[in-house]
């Protein structure tokens, strides 16, 4: 029997393929049966209603895209009365992504979304923190600790911390999140980027800057997922540039226990469905019965050509 299931800090998923926040919604049910995928991760919500950033909100660059959607939100009320009931028609667990500009507001929202029907809470700590010089919580270990300590106290649900690739201290941030009680890490969000139209000399995004996502992001977030998986003992969920089975395998081998698919769904809405099927097929043809045989199997101690070089050197 092939076992595609994974256990993410107490939460059991039927398979390791799930959507990335902000690239998935109820609307995808028009294209396939949403129970095919391992979990449902909602767009980040805030407590209050928010309208989001000015348009243009996206632009494409070679083999990738930039977005500055912001966090338009219909608020907690709408989430509880519409989003949760919609997804509860499915078996796949619902993961609520939340955000707030201050640690206390974050904790309050975390408590409010800890309702029946929400299986885990993903905290988008890659958003600006108004208490500390506007930098995202996930930029530094101490701001990460601070917010996660409060979030941990606000809920008993599995808590996933979504990290930012914009920090130079990813291992320290990952450790701080684990220390504060995160049950899993999502690595990572988009990388801050920019594009300018040379004819009009106008920035291509209404918000001037935005987040890079898609295949071009993959080597960076893969590296971070690897670093985090090495550093922490809680599960890491890989995210960034995943579009093919090879991408999924690369993250799993690097140490991720599951993956999130974002931009690829825009290019091909059936991507996640194909990935589940292809992963299963790969395991069958390679006689792999459990994902645990793949996860973290990277042969990093054998990376270099050293032995050969030494021979030549001698």
């Amino acid at each position: 029997m092939l076992d595609l299931s994974v256990n993410l800090g107490g939460l059991q998923l039927a398979n390791p393929i799930m959507p990335a926040s902000g690239t998935f919604s109820e609307d995808l049910a028009d294209v396939f049966d949403l129970d095919v995928i391992g979990a449902h991760v909602t767009k980040t919500i805030t407590r209050e209603k928010r309208s989001g950033n000015p348009t243009p909100r996206v632009c494409e660059v070679k083999g990738a895209m930039l977005n500055a959607i912001g966090i338009p939100s219909k608020g907690i009320e709408h989430f509880l009365t519409h989003t949760v009931p919609f997804f509860n028609r499915y078996q796949a667990p619902l993961v609520a992504s939340i955000s707030a500009p201050s640690a206390d507001e974050f904790a309050r929202l975390c408590e409010e979304v800890s309702v029946e029907g929400v299986a885990a809470i993903e905290v988008n700590i890659s958003c600006p923190n108004i208490e500390e010089d506007g930098k995202a919580f996930a930029m530094r270990p101490h701001t990460t600790s601070n917010v996660l300590n409060k979030l941990r106290q606000a809920t008993d649900k599995p808590l996933w911390a979504k990290l930012s690739p914009n920090t130079g201290e990813v291992t320290e941030v990952a450790l701080a999140a684990q220390e504060a009680g995160a049950d899993a890490l999502v690595v990572a969000n988009t990388l801050l980027a920019m594009a300018i139209d040379i004819r009009s000399r106008k920035p291509k995004l209404g918000n001037l800057m935005g987040g890079l996502s898609g295949p071009a992001l993959k080597p960076i977030t893969l590296r971070m997922a690897y670093q985090c998986a090495k550093a922490v003992s809680i599960p890491v969920i890989g995210c960034g540039g995943i579009a093919t089975l090879d991408d999924v395998l690369e993250y799993l081998i690097a140490g991720a226990s599951a993956v999130q698919v974002g931009t690829a769904t825009f290019i091909s809405p059936m991507t996640m469905v194909h990935l589940v099927g292809e992963l299963q097929e790969y395991m069958r043809t390679n006689n792999i019965t459990s994902l645990s045989e793949i996860i973290g199997s990277v042969r990093d101690d054998e990376a270099s050509d050293k032995p050969v070089m030494q021979e030549i050197g001698q």
Binding site: A29, F32, R57, C59, V61, F266, I267
Partner: protein, 281 residues
């Protein structure tokens, strides 16, 4: 699990699948004048339960010359479920539409759709006035066809830069549409003239509803006439898109709805909106 994956194509028992990601085969792809191309593809039957005004999100081919990444939204210009045909009328603008021009007969074009909410015609809208400019005709042509099938009286005011750039007027006439062609080169397409032609239509023939698309200038004018004469209408709008399905929220525009200004997704709540709700920008 394998069974489950296969069942994906059949859908969750509680929700019907309405949008399909499928390959289509190019039957022809030719310039119709200096600016526009007509692309006709052979498509599976299930994607052809379309409404005029809906669109598809096309995966334009990557080549040495063009590397579009995101899909490009394109209105349905024509669809025929019986013949399994789908067509698009497009203006070459940049990477994506540039890449489309390279498609030869037999090439595969992956499409996603049909998407969005199209036009509707209320039972008591017997006399329709279509006001189209340029490639906006692409969206309005299938509406004209549908309206004629429903036995409605249709007048289409088609405006373009030149006689050569005027599209589909013969097709409209074949459908039994009363066509009024206006061009910049003849000096007949200016706002003032257009307005007096519309007012003449209202006075002499009567108009129950306006249908238009894209252009801010047309939208603003029709809203004014709508308020003045109490005539309802619908407008198809454009906005930059990524997913086309309603997930990313990049395609929002402001609208007046129930006395409030709200942001709505053009791909999901539209692309066709109530004429008075749209805000020209």
């Amino acid at each position: 699990m394998q069974k489950k994956t296969l069942q994906a194509a059949l859908g969750h028992p509680e929700t019907a699948l309405t949008a399909f990601e499928v390959p289509t085969t190019v039957l022809s792809n030719k310039p119709v004048n200096a600016e526009y191309h007509l692309l006709v593809v052979s498509a599976p039957e299930e994607i052809l339960a379309c409404t005029p005004g809906q669109f598809f999100n096309l995966l334009c081919p990557v080549s040495d010359a063009h590397s579009p990444y995101l899909r490009r939204p394109m209105s349905i210009y024509g669809f025929d479920r019986h013949k399994r045909r789908l067509s698009f009328l497009y203006k070459v603008a940049g990477e994506g539409t540039g890449a489309l021009t390279a498609l030869k007969r037999g090439a595969i074009l992956p499409v996603l759709g049909p998407l969005g909410h199209g036009y509707s015609i209320k039972d008591d809208w017997q006399k329709l006035l279509i006001v189209a400019r340029g490639v906006g005709l692409a969206t309005l042509a299938p509406l004209a066809q549908y309206a004629r099938q429903q036995g409605r009286q249709v007048t289409a005011i088609c405006s373009a830069r030149s006689q050569a750039a005027l599209l589909s007027t013969d097709y409209f006439r074949q459908l039994g549409v009363n066509v009024i062609a206006l061009t910049d080169e003849d000096g007949t397409s200016d706002t003032q003239n257009l307005r007096s032609i519309i007012e003449k239509q209202i006075a002499e023939n009567g108009v129950d509803a306006f249908y238009t698309c894209g252009s801010n200038r047309l939208l603003a004018m029709l809203q004014e006439l709508s308020r003045h004469y109490g005539i309802e209408g619908q407008v198809a709008l454009e906005q930059q898109m990524a997913c086309g399905l309603g997930m990313c929220q990049c395609c929002v525009r402001p609208f007046n709805r129930d006395g409030e200004q709200v942001q709505l997704r053009v791909c999901r709540e539209g692309p066709v909106f109530d004429l008075m709700e749209a805000i020209p920008c």
